[in-house]
């Protein structure tokens, strides 16, 4: 059952999730995730036929409101809690960089 998830897959998934793992963490997480997925395998093996999926327990559809301007968050209060702010905006590090 050790092929349930490979080290390479865990490294790939970590990258997708914007997480950096050390070598030993990669080792530990791979074996832990494999165990959980083993347990989850009984779901994978079930024959559910043509049973439809349930994404939400309560069948609400199209919850709309009128497009009317109302109160919202106080900008200064929001920006006061930002790691960095400038001229009424969040200040962030350079976004367009080299492809990693």
């Amino acid at each position: 059952m050790s092929e349930r998830i490979t080290r390479e897959e865990v490294a790939h998934v970590a990258k997708l999730a914007r997480l950096e793992l050390s070598e030993s963490e990669l080792e530990v997480f791979t074996s832990q995730l494999a165990k959980v997925l083993d347990h989850a395998a009984d779901v994978e093996a079930l024959d559910v036929g043509d049973v439809p999926p349930t994404a939400h327990p309560y069948p609400l559809r199209n919850v709309f409101r009128d497009d009317v301007v109302g109160p919202t968050l106080d900008r200064d209060e929001v920006l006061a809690e930002a790691p960095a702010a400038d001229t009424g905006m969040f200040s962030v590090p350079r976004i367009l960089g080299e492809e990693p």
Partner: protein, 484 residues
């Protein structure tokens, strides 16, 4: 009203009648916190000054002849994943350490309107992921019944605060059992309401199709009162159901005569400790003697709940926790580019269990695996919904243990995540189905530690659920373990 009011309602009545001041009530609870909080660590933050100010405001209203509200003067602990404006809300994570929300959760607004006093932000497993509160970045909470043991999780701080007498009421959140399991382990009442009855606006999201906020209390009547305060449609939460919530307090003392109670067969087998199973059977027998029609019922798909949950919940969490990127709030570990900053921030800010679940969820949703894992799990969820619906054709409420064991020792289950996940086997099915369920204390295990029994009802079945819970509470053995 023949059902006796619990400690919270008793305080509120006394404060409203001018027999006690809210200030005096708050000082009494702060003294309790002063005496034991260093051992218990129920709170990330005790709000002593704020509580005193809020209490003075309640007393001023009473003095001026203004109605201070139905829960006036009652201290309440809030799980620290509930946004409180201007007050640190950490989710027990380093990534939000010190962050102060610019808004209050809807449930916090509703609570404050009743004159209740927010006394502290309670500890939890980081981002509500865990069953023992050992995943908190700020240290575990200890069970007031035995401080060498866990209080359960993820709402361990809320449960412990109520059990220790730090506050008669608390709010927690329940995604896979995070209110009910700690309630059982600490010996208090804990309810997971019907999905959509309580607004999630201001609850930091873990798994959006499963999360619900709910009450902790030392009595069913108090839990009912708090449920009525927080429940009800909220336009700020588009998953909030539009129907009116049926009242629950007025039918509490109807008893269980003729009530059809189904004991879930599968949940008495799945690794349940013999003393817990025995207590659950005693509870069933007690209900039968009180006039209920008790029988066994099979909910076959319940067996798959754990596996489906540990695909669905992490998948939803991986999406919800993508927002913690160091850009707009919380921790930022600065690097030359935004992407490197995100990686460094998340790596430093999240604990191991959170990382594990994010990766599990990302994997379950990734190309090539979506159908086999997440897609399949959502269809198993439908089977669970259908099996419960079938059971409710023959029964009004269902019964099971809440937790497979009594409180385990701190550190006993942390080496293997899967062992920890098994704690949720009885509670998870109701989250998947969206149905309400409540844990009621029912005696102690062979080790003298609290045991909780779980009652389940169909969606919007809270009136019947609370009625059965009140009856069960009245039938519970005394903590000296006297057999019925």
């Amino acid at each position: 009203m023949t059902a006796p009011p619990g400690p919270a309602l008793t305080i509120a009545a006394a404060v409203r009648a001018g027999e006690r001041t809210a200030r005096e009530v708050v000082e009494e609870h702060l003294a309790e916190i002063e005496a034991r909080e260093a051992t218990i660590h129920a709170f990330n933050l005790v709000l002593a000054d704020e509580a005193r100010a809020a209490a003075d405001a309640v007393d001023a209203k009473v003095a001026a002849g203004i109605d201070p509200g139905p829960l006036a003067g009652v201290p309440v602990a809030l799980k620290d994943n509930l946004c409180t404006r201007g007050i640190p809300t950490t989710c027990s994570s380093r990534i939000l350490d010190g962050w102060r929300p610019p808004y209050d959760a809807t449930v916090v607004d509703r609570l404050r309107e009743t004159g209740a006093i927010v006394i502290g932000k309670a500890n939890l497993d980081e981002f509500a992921m865990g069953s023992s509160t050992e995943n908190s970045a700020f240290g575990p909470t200890r069970n007031p019944a035995d401080p060498t043991r866990v209080p359960g999780g993820s709402s361990g701080g809320s449960a412990a605060a109520v059990a220790a007498g730090f506050a008669p009421l608390a709010l927690g959140s329940d995604t896979g059992g995070s209110i009910r399991q700690p309630a059982a382990l600490c010996g208090v009442v804990g309810l997971k309401p019907t999905y959509g009855t309580v607004s999630r606006y201001g609850l930091v999201a873990f798994a959006s199709s499963l999360d619900q906020i709910g009450p902790f209390a030392r009595s069913v009547a108090d839990a009912a009162a708090l449920f009525e305060v927080i429940a009800g449609h909220d336009p700020l939460d588009s998953t909030s159901i539009p129907e009116a919530i049926p009242p629950v307090s007025e039918t509490l003392d109807r008893g269980v005569d003729g009530l059809r109670v189904g004991v879930i067969a599968e949940l008495l087998e799945l690794g349940i400790a013999p003393d817990v199973a025995s207590r659950t059977r005693h509870a069933a027998e007690a209900l039968a003697r009180a006039g209920a029609k008790v029988d066994e019922v099979s909910v076959p798909a319940a067996v798959y709940g754990l596996s489906a949950y540990y695909l669905i919940a992490p998948a939803e969490a991986s999406s919800n926790l993508a927002r913690f990127d160091g850009m707009r709030y919380g921790l930022r570990v600065e690097r030359p580019t935004a992407e490197e900053t995100m990686v460094a921030t998340r790596t430093a800010g999240f604990g191991a269990e959170v990382k594990r679940r994010i990766m599990l969820g990302t994997y379950a949703l990734s190309a090539g695996y979506y159908d086999a894992y997440y897609g399949k799990a959502q269809r198993v969820r439908t089977l669970i919904v259908r099996d419960f619906a079938r059971a409710y054709e023959q029964f009004d409420v269902l019964l099971s243990p809440t937790s497979p064991t009594t409180a385990f020792e701190i550190g006993a289950k942390t080496s293997d995540p899967l062992t920890m996940y098994l704690n949720d086997v009885c509670t998870i099915p109701s989250n998947l189905a969206g149905d309400p369920a409540i844990s009621v204390p029912f005696g102690v295990g062979d080790d003298g530690l609290p045991v909780g029994v779980q009652l389940l009802a169909p969606a919007l079945g809270e009136p019947t659920l609370f009625r059965a819970a009140a009856a069960l509470e009245a039938l519970a053995p005394t903590t000296e373990g006297a057999e019925q």
